[in-house]
Symmetry: C2
Subunit: 602 residues, 2 copies
């Protein structure tokens, strides 16, 4: 091992196990604006020197580092924190040093305390340390702020997002079923009143006509069939164009702007795939997968063929041109006021592409939020989150029993430093059989679960009407799916009052705005799923009857470890009723699919 | 985020979570010669390409990398291993790639299987891939060994030691109590017969006379007092000299060489401290802590003063000269044949110094083993191990109850990738009150615990005689401690037959040669401590009556999870008796301090 070429010996202070960090600092940890980042480290040295330590912090775009103290908590464990008050990529590192004055004072104090009276040698050292002759009393009283033998950790990053990246209620709608952009704009006051934060629109671009799919995904479209919005591009334009049936660019910008006035953001879909009529196929055939004979290859997953879709080749010779064009698409919509993007199937595109694209967008637009629609294996799902996606779809739709829900929440809690769930109750692709067979009670239970388990959740319109007919038995596709035809939609579903009550409860209870602070509660009935969430002084207990067919009774056991008093008032945020609950067993009886969402305290 | 300046886009394969690694690869993981290093990683890519992966390995001093395959185990988890057959610092990294041929074959196979008969496009791709016209049958049968889009992990290190670094039985003796080197040499056949692997000698150097401590650590020595071997150095020499009363350099070399013939290694003490008479104080006063007036500072821990000891200043201006001199001391003894060093108080010296010194020694002498005598906080103890110490003392002497032992073993198992315990039953500094008050039964219990819990253990001579009188009540120091006076010692203690039986059992049972494979067993009696150790086909159950005063009875419960048959023969390796034990409860009754060490199977 080579010794350093500098004059001094290597630093003696050991600085280890800095947290938070993800994969040895390869990826940033995620936080939202307004939070404090809790920093810990192991810091120690041989011998008895007094140490000091701090966390040095650089906000996004700043050129100077600020400092917050770290304090020793015993066993060489040091702790501190810093606040993040703006979105973007923050940097921090831990520094530690020897305080020679404090070290000297500690030694001198022990000698004075034990009655040693010959301090001539010690005071000769003090004279050197303080730069002047000094008495023992003066030396002991001096301020200790020396920093020698400084050591520092590597620099780690914190990716800070707006609060909306963590906490928000989404409503998904196909604008063609609502009268286009102007029709959607007319719904904004009501959507705001219902407590939604995001209106998410599937692709709004021109739809291809070559090999267009018909109603119910028929291989060939009938005349008049409108096609799938995900078959993007026609002679009328590609990813930066608007389908003429939906409205004008001006109307779109007005929708986005007026949404913001109501506290509602319009989220767009970003689906990197092209219909056979997309302008890029002619303008840039080199961006697509081609056979040796030069013909373009449509998408396949043998033996399935997707002849209405062409995928780009991220590794093509002009990959830089392709990547830049895709970035330009996103930046185009950012310029129209859109800062929330739901990304279609990101796991079938290269991870480094997403890392680059999201970072490019967020360097200039740190408020931008990307939601990953990736349903694949855990390694890819977490890696996309690490690579920059602020939110991610989850397996929530397929987790309906108590043990499935517990497994899901455990996984999400494990991932919480990088992966923020957005739990949709349904999507245009997923109508789970629990909803198909459970009727309205199933819809109510799932709505309460989504809204109370996950800080971000969403419903796809139709849910509030308890739409539950599949295209055929065994399929999760809707009959007469809105993906392939336009509907007549209105905000008058019977579940909207429940959604509104939940959204109000979410806004008024910080415990529901975070994933952690979660404790599962015993119910002595597998059909009753109960959990407690806590944030600061705010505690909410949710109990859901998962059985969509029958009333269930049981208990909800609040353990002493919750720190609650022996008896305490609870108020049901859905029904408005109040009771007194106790540490220990509380009797619970709920009709099919019904829930308590209980705020603890008055 | 800047894109790469190279022509191609960034690698799409994700390669994460490579194990084994310690602190993000900052330190090597530890293994011993003859083991296989199990390597795992998460490897995946977007899309459906077929991936391949391998671990690339470079033995110490080699210039070429060899390769072992990694195989997929599901969920993007890949596994493989490589053997380490020589001591020293090994390197490895994981590599992964796309196999374009296997990917093409997989797609083609699915098309053929589903009956697609127009394969013209596919075969035009095959022609490019294989470089010639090729039929579907040929393409499907071709060997798939293409490696494209290669990605590799960082390089990680494995520090490989001789087996003795993990597994060995130590006997500590002061040679001045045994007739010097020649007297110790006469004991070698008997020590070998008893099954010991290492004879560890406290410092063998000249002892200072200025401020020499007397018997029982008296402030002043009486005429004839021999002093502490840790007060190193006199006019007769320093750390590279031999105390003339012990013998000559020639006799020492003969002792070391003859030990090796008996399978016994002589371990030396390396204590970096100097008596006031050490030659370095005159030759190199600049290496020591000094007051501003130039006088040297003796060691202190206020209000305690150690006027017989001077510590070196590792940060002095000539630190390079000092560090090199200390390295030269170790290398001097290596040249005499010594390759095992017990290092005194390494935690009061800089960690980077140890990292440098051990690596310097082991680059040329990879067989060298350093044992850290550090009793301090966990962060420093583990860091010294990471920095290069092959073995470490533990808190074993202070862990006597069942829960204390379980806590200790849990910690040691947590640390097992870097920290190898050496459990001494006693040391010249530590006579625990359990031994002071427990009499022979306490000594027997502790001997069995040390020898069966830890692959490396040791006793300090006197233990086998059940010496247990402290200098005063409440002290862990021995009365008439051998640290300050010479004794008349002989290998005739009553516990030697037990030590011999244990050492034989350890050599014949691989389960006792490793720390892991440990399962605690329920006994329904806090005084009965039982555990199972397994390695391959070898299983050993130890049951110890921790009560030194009374017979205890209880059960030893072997759970189904051990995988043992419903009933099986066991043989007591101490008493020689055989029984039949069962899954479930086995009745156990043991007299005070007695144990079973049961080998499972015939």
């Amino acid at each position: 091992m080579a010794l350093p070429k500098t004059n001094g010996p290597p630093a003696r202070i050991q600085l280890q196990q800095v947290t938070p960090q993800v994969d040895c600092g390869r990826y940033p940890v995620k936080r939202t604006v307004g939070e404090r980042v809790e920093v810990t480290a192991r810091i120690f040295r041989d011998g008895h020197e007094a140490l000091g330590a701090a966390v040095r912090v650089k906000p996004p775009g700043a050129s100077r580092w600020s400092e917050e103290p770290l304090a020793p908590r015993g066993n060489d464990h040091w702790e501190g924190s810093f606040a993040v008050d703006q979105p973007g990529l923050w940097q921090f590192r831990v520094e530690a040093w020897v305080d020679r004055i404090a070290s000297f004072q500690e030694e001198l104090r022990r000698k004075v305390d034990s009655g040693q009276d010959d301090l001539a040698g010690e005071l000769s050292e003090a004279a050197v340390l303080f730069g002047r002759e000094i008495s023992a009393e003066e030396a002991l009283a001096a301020a200790a702020d020396d920093r020698s033998g400084k050591t520092w950790s590597e620099t780690y990053c914190v990716d800070v997002d707006r609060v909306l990246a963590r906490f928000g209620s989404w409503y998904e709608l196909f604008p063609r079923s609502w009268g286009g952009f102007e029709g959607v704009r007319a719904q904004l006051p009501r959507l705001a009143e219902l407590g939604f934060d995001v209106v998410y629109l599937p692709p709004i671009h021109p739809i291809g006509h070559t090999n267009r799919k018909g109603r119910n995904n028929a291989a060939a479209a009938e005349p008049g069939d409108v096609g799938s919005p995900w078959a993007i591009g026609s002679e009328e334009g590609g990813h930066d164009a608007i389908h003429p049936d939906l409205g004008t660019a001006e109307e779109f910008r007005r929708l986005v702007a007026e949404g913001k006035e109501h506290g509602l953001e319009v989220a767009l879909d970003f689906a990197i795939q092209c219909s056979p009529d997309h302008p890029w196929l002619k303008e840039h055939p080199e961006w697509f997968n081609r056979r040796p004979d030069g013909t373009l290859k449509y998408a396949e997953n043998p033996p399935k063929r997707y002849q209405d879709i062409y995928n780009v080749n991220f590794d093509c010779e002009d990959w830089r041109g392709l990547w830049q064009a895709l970035l330009d698409v996103v930046l185009h919509w950012v310029e129209q006021g859109v800062t929330v993007f739901r990304v279609d199937n990101p796991h079938t595109k290269p991870v480094p592409f997403w890392q680059w694209l999201i970072q490019e967008v967020r360097t200039e637009h740190p408020e931008a939020i990307f939601l990953a629609e990736a349903f694949t294996r855990p390694a890819m799902m977490t890696t996309l989150a690490k690579a920059g996606f602020a939110q991610s779809y989850t397996y929530f739709t397929w987790k309906n029993s108590r043990w499935e829900l517990l497994e899901l929440v455990g996984q999400l809690l494990d991932w919480r430093d990088v992966y923020r769930p957005n739990c949709f109750t349904n999507t245009p692709d997923i109508l789970h059989e629990y909803l198909q067979h459970g009727g309205r009670p199933a819809f109510e239970a799932r709505l309460v679960l989504a809204a109370t388990l996950s800080p971000a959740y969403g419903i796809y319109s139709g849910f509030e009407h308890c739409e539950n007919v599949p295209v055929r038995e065994g399929s999760e596709e809707y009959l007469d799916s809105e993906k392939y035809e336009a509907k007549e939609r209105a905000l008058d579903g019977p579940l909207l009052p429940l959604a509104q009550a939940l959204n109000t409860a979410r806004r008024e209870n910080e415990a529901l705005q975070h994933l952690d602070g979660f404790t599962v509660l015993e119910t002595e009935n597998e059909q009753l799923f109960a959990f407690l969430k806590r944030r600061g002084e705010n505690t909410v207990v949710t109990v859901v009857n998962l059985d969509p067919a029958a009333t269930q009774e049981g208990v909800c056991i609040l353990p002493v470890s919750t720190g609650l008093p022996p008896a305490y008032p609870v108020r049901d945020l859905l029904a408005g009723e109040s009771w007194t609950w106790h540490i220990g067993r509380n009797y619970v009886k709920l009709r099919a699919g019904k829930s308590h969402v209980l705020r603890i305290g008055s």
